[in-house]
């Protein structure tokens, strides 16, 4: 159960967006004069996944919940690590090769907690964010990534 929290929008921000995350401008606001370190993680669409040649993919999200959940994850990172700000954005819709699917920025007075918080946020969003990936392959087939094998065929 997600607990309601006071959100300080200067320190915690989250977006689920169909817009490009290339040089995502709102990240510039993450961090303050007190922060000597910032770390930006970018996830991109890879040309191959588990040995298969990816041609394109689409992310689908339960957008309202995903945005709340991503914001909650950023807030939890501030509770767990000595970081002052955490911003994160996840793309939805059709993505081509090399496009940015997810971006996470954390800022802190010192660098060590940035690394720990950034990794934690990525792991948390991968396990908790209600977002689904539909991968299409060069051979024409496609699959909902993560779906059990039995459920990944055609519909009923």
């Amino acid at each position: 159960m997600t607990v309601a929290r006071e959100v300080d929008a200067s320190r915690i921000r989250a977006w689920i967006t169909p817009d490009s995350l290339e040089n995502f401008a709102p990240l510039a606001a993450c961090g303050s004069e007190a922060d000597g370190a910032a770390l930006v993680f970018e996830g991109r669409v890879r040309a191959t996944n588990e040995g298969r040649e990816v041609s394109s993919l689409a992310y689908e999200a339960y957008a309202e919940m995903a945005e709340q959940e991503l914001e909650a994850i950023c807030g939890e990172a501030l509770d767990r690590f000595a970081v002052s700000s955490a911003f994160a954005a996840h793309r939805v819709g059709e993505l081509g090769l090399k496009e940015v699917s997810v971006v996470v920025k954390v800022a802190a007075p010192h660098r060590e907690p940035c690394y720990a918080a950034s990794r934690w946020i990525i792991e948390a969003l991968k396990s908790r964010l209600p977002v689904w990936k539909h991968e299409r392959y060069a051979d024409g087939s496609s699959v909902w990534v993560g779906a059990p094998a039995a459920a990944s065929g055609a519909g009923p």
């Binding site: 159960m1 997600t2 996830g43 992310y59 689908e60 999200a61 339960y62 309202e64 919940m65 995903a66 709340q68 996840h90 699917s101 997810v102 990525i122 969003l125 991968k126 396990s127 908790r128 964010l129 209600p130 977002v131 689904w132 990936k133 539909h134 909902w144 990534v145 993560g146 779906a147 059990p148 459920a151 990944s152 519909g155 009923p156």
Partner: protein, 89 residues
């Protein structure tokens, strides 16, 4: 749409995503269940509906946009999302 056979006292807005939306061939439906029903009760009702046997018994569920346990009691008008294995990142 309203699912046939789910005609209880309270109405649950049920959302489907990803592979579940593909299996059910719909993204949203209204499910009526008995007052006092839990998340698990709703899932069992859905699994009994025509063409819904693919729905895993232990499906992950969110109620009103927060993850919820099977024992969570539902209220009229609740929004229940059936959450396939997530793959963000």
């Amino acid at each position: 749409m309203t699912l046939d056979g789910l005609d209880g006292d309270i109405s649950i807005r049920t959302l489907l995503f990803g592979v579940y939306a593909e299996r059910a061939a719909l993204r949203e439906c209204s499910a009526r269940v008995a007052a006092g029903s839990t998340v698990s009760d709703l899932v069992e009702e859905l699994r009994r509906a025509e063409g819904w046997s693919w729905l895993p018994r232990r499906v992950v569920v969110a109620v009103n946009q927060s993850y919820a346990e099977g024992g969570t009691r539902l209220s009229d008008g609740d929004e229940v999302a059936l959450i396939p294995p997530v793959a963000g990142g």
